[in-house]
């Protein structure tokens, strides 16, 4: 069992060791870890298998957007098993029992993965064409086998043993997301005396400040600024802070549904405690500061355990103090992955190659990369990934003028970090029937016409730097307060060492293979 913790990094409590199990094996993590971060710290990337071809899968993100690392969790006692929990969200606690999904007989050796080798035969809809004959086989042979191998996870067999609470809440201003934009908005409104509710899905407020801290904010170390900010907000009587609370729906007249997780992180929840509380928050004004999600890149084998988003690797490092690997190849079309690579090198990870599909990038990136001794390959691309249950290397080639690839070489690595730029997180905004418009210049969908009294701030408006997010949060709060008929006293937050960046959008990375690569379920 390898230890990939980095000393001095992360927001975990190293004084509190916690033991949990995954597929019957006991692992150790720290208070503040998720299942994914604790397993990654133990060198485990393989966390599940895909539901059709049973391809091995590991985490690709470090947050709620996780599509792959879905596990079953048991919280003790009948009716407390839950399938499809995201390992990247579930916090560990003493005695937590987790299992992988969609494997038979085991995660490491899976019979169903043969489907993957034969995927050309098993095209879409193959169930209906292939298993028609002989007719009598359907009930006895085909259906039981298909049923056993299909679907995500296993449905719970017992009624849910937990209680769930509900609450109505009225507020002048609801802010969803407590990253730079959300915090700036909250500070502006809170100091003004406005009745504010700030919700965030994570256990800690801070958003991207937790995983990518700028050098300083208002002349203070980021951590100091953040804890002072939270301290100020939590002592004000007109502010309600809610963590582990996911805004799940945006309904008419600014009603936002918020699911607050109460006991899923506790080894010994108080007797009679509800597991979750459903808040129906009606706000006069809403600010959506939900940031942006990093886009994956499309290349052969991009679902291999060990391949993940560059920002996820950065989060595992800076928030959980975990190196996701020892030798990484970075594949990007956006500046942000360069900064992730720099953070990783500074923490002792080898960057085997930094591959950027763009032929030219900013000089400051190149010189920073050079200073760290990183092999940079601009105008190159990753063609495919070697390794089955974990990445063992990649094929890298130079992109030629006609969209083909030449000068192909192999690079060994145990991790591939990809970044295809960022997409504003506008899911809640879309619930309101708000329109999106395509921004040609930055190649993103941005919020358009609104139907509710809501404001979008920060990454949601395609603003990638933290300074811009802080400024935009203040602006959104000012607009909301004006709309409430209050006069806002403006505030300013000054970020030093901000890492603004840009990039291009790739639909599919160049390759010499004509077959469609997408669709490996």
């Amino acid at each position: 069992m390898s230890n990939l913790r980095v000393d001095g990094k992360g927001r975990i409590n190293r004084d509190k060791r916690i033991r949990f199990t995954f597929d019957g094996v006991s692992y150790e993590g720290f208070e503040g870890d998720t299942v994914a971060s604790a397993l990654l710290a133990n060198g485990v990337h393989l966390m599940g298998r895909s539901f059709k071809y049973h391809r091995p899968r590991g985490p690709v993100t470090a947050g709620s957007e996780e599509p792959n690392a879905l596990i079953g969790t048991s919280r003790g006692g009948a009716g407390r098993f839950e399938p499809n929990t995201r390992a990247t969200v579930q916090e560990i606690y003493e005695g937590l029992t987790t299992v992988s999904q969609n494997k038979w007989p085991s995660l490491n050796f899976d019979v169903g993965a043969i489907n993957d080798k034969l995927h050309k035969l098993f095209a879409a809809g193959f169930y209906y064409k292939t298993f028609m004959w002989p007719k009598s086989f359907w009930d006895k042979v085909y259906e039981p086998v298909i049923r056993a191998s299909a679907g995500l996870g296993v449905s719970p067999s017992e009624p849910d043993a937990d209680a769930y609470a509900s609450r109505y809440l009225y507020a002048e201003l609801l802010i969803v997301g407590a990253g730079p934009a959300g915090l700036a908005a909250a500070l502006t409104a809170a100091r003004n005396g406005t009745d504010v509710v700030l919700v965030d899905e994570n256990r800690e407020l801070g958003g991207s400040l937790l995983s990518e801290a700028p050098a300083s904010i208002d002349g203070k170390p980021t951590e100091t600024w953040l804890s002072e900010c939270i301290e100020e907000l939590s002592t004000l009587p007109n502010v309600r802070l809610m963590t582990r609370s996911v805004a799940i729906g945006y309904y008419h007249e600014n009603m936002v549904g918020v699911a607050e997780k109460l006991t899923d992180h506790l080894a010994y929840p108080p007797a009679g405690a509800p597991r979750e509380r459903m808040w129906r928050i009606r706000a006069k004004e809403v600010i959506l500061a939900q940031g942006a999600l990093e886009r994956p890149l499309v290349f052969d084998g991009n679902d291999r355990p060990g391949v993940m988003m560059a920002s996820a690797a950065q989060t595992y490092l800076n928030r959980y103090g975990v190196k996701v690997g020892t030798a990484a190849v970075v594949m990007t079309s956006h500046d942000s992955a360069w900064y992730a690579a720099f953070d990783l090198v500074d923490a002792g990870v080898t960057i085997a190659a930094l591959v950027d599909v763009r032929s030219s990038v900013g000089d400051h990136l190149l010189s920073e990369a050079q200073a760290r001794g990183i092999t940079v390959k601009t105008g190159h691309t990753v063609l495919s990934v070697a390794g089955k249950k974990r990445v063992s290397g990649v094929q890298v080639g130079r992109v030629t003028g006609d969209g083909k690839v030449s000068d192909i070489t192999s690079v060994s690595c145990d991790t591939v970090l990809m970044s295809g730029g960022w997409t504003p997180s506008l899911h809640l905004f879309s619930h309101t029937k708000g329109s999106l418009h395509w921004d040609e210049e930055n190649e993103v969908f941005l919020p358009g016409e609104k139907t509710e009294r809501c404001h979008i701030a920060g990454g949601g408006r395609g603003l990638w730097s933290q300074q811009a997010a802080f400024d935009d949060g203040v602006l959104a709060a000012e607009q909301a307060l004006t709309s409430l008929g209050q006069t806002a006293k403006t505030i300013s937050v000054d970020v030093d060492g901000d890492r603004a960046g840009s990039g291009i959008v790739m639909e599919e990375l160049p390759s010499n293979d004509d077959k469609l690569l997408a669709g490996h379920l």
Binding site: A163, Y168, T263, P270, A271, G272, R280
Partner: protein, 170 residues
């Protein structure tokens, strides 16, 4: 976290539903000996009798059980001149009192209204988890729920679950 809110059912009281047209309210007020409230949610008290305006032509009158005649008799006396409907609903409802610093928040577990906007001394008909109730704010931290008898176990059940939730401090 200490939780100091008490949920209790109150003893039976006399309750009357009064319906009458606008032009007859003067006669009603005169017969009762006090002015009936004129805006919805307004509550008027005169001695042991209270009148809460629930709708444009509807009031809920309450009094102690043994003083019901104080409402019934004077109104019956003016019936010929001022037509109205007075229906005794004393045993239809049970009153539940919620009092304590967390009373408002406790009720917000199931009441969709903005309770902050319900001023002291006012009452409204509303819903409590889909049960129709009359909710009165008797004091800043004291509410009364008038609930139809058959729904009382449901409402009390919800309040006791909510109390447990508050007591565990999460």
């Amino acid at each position: 976290m200490a939780f100091n809110t008490i949920v209790e059912t109150l003893p039976a009281m006399g309750r009357f539903s009064l319906r009458c047209k606008r032009e007859n309210t003067v006669a009603m007020s005169k017969a009762l000996g006090f002015e009936l409230p004129s805006t919805i949610s307004e509550l008027v008290r005169s001695g042991n009798v209270t009148a809460l305006k629930l709708g444009p032509d509807e009031w809920m009158l309450t009094c102690p059980m043994d003083e019901r005649a104080k409402i019934k008799e004077p109104l019956a006396a003016v019936y010929a001149d001022a037509v109205h409907s007075l229906t005794e609903v004393s045993s239809r409802e049970v009153s539940i009192r919620v009092s304590g610093p967390e009373a408002e928040e406790l009720l917000s577990t199931s009441c969709p209204r903005n309770l902050r906007e319900l001023t002291v001394g006012c009452g409204v008909r509303t819903v409590f988890d889909s049960v129709q109730v009359i909710l009165t704010r008797e004091e800043q931290n004291q509410f009364r729920l008038d609930v139809w008898r058959s729904f009382v176990p449901h409402v009390m059940g919800l309040l006791s679950v909510a109390t447990k939730e508050f007591e565990c401090g999460l």
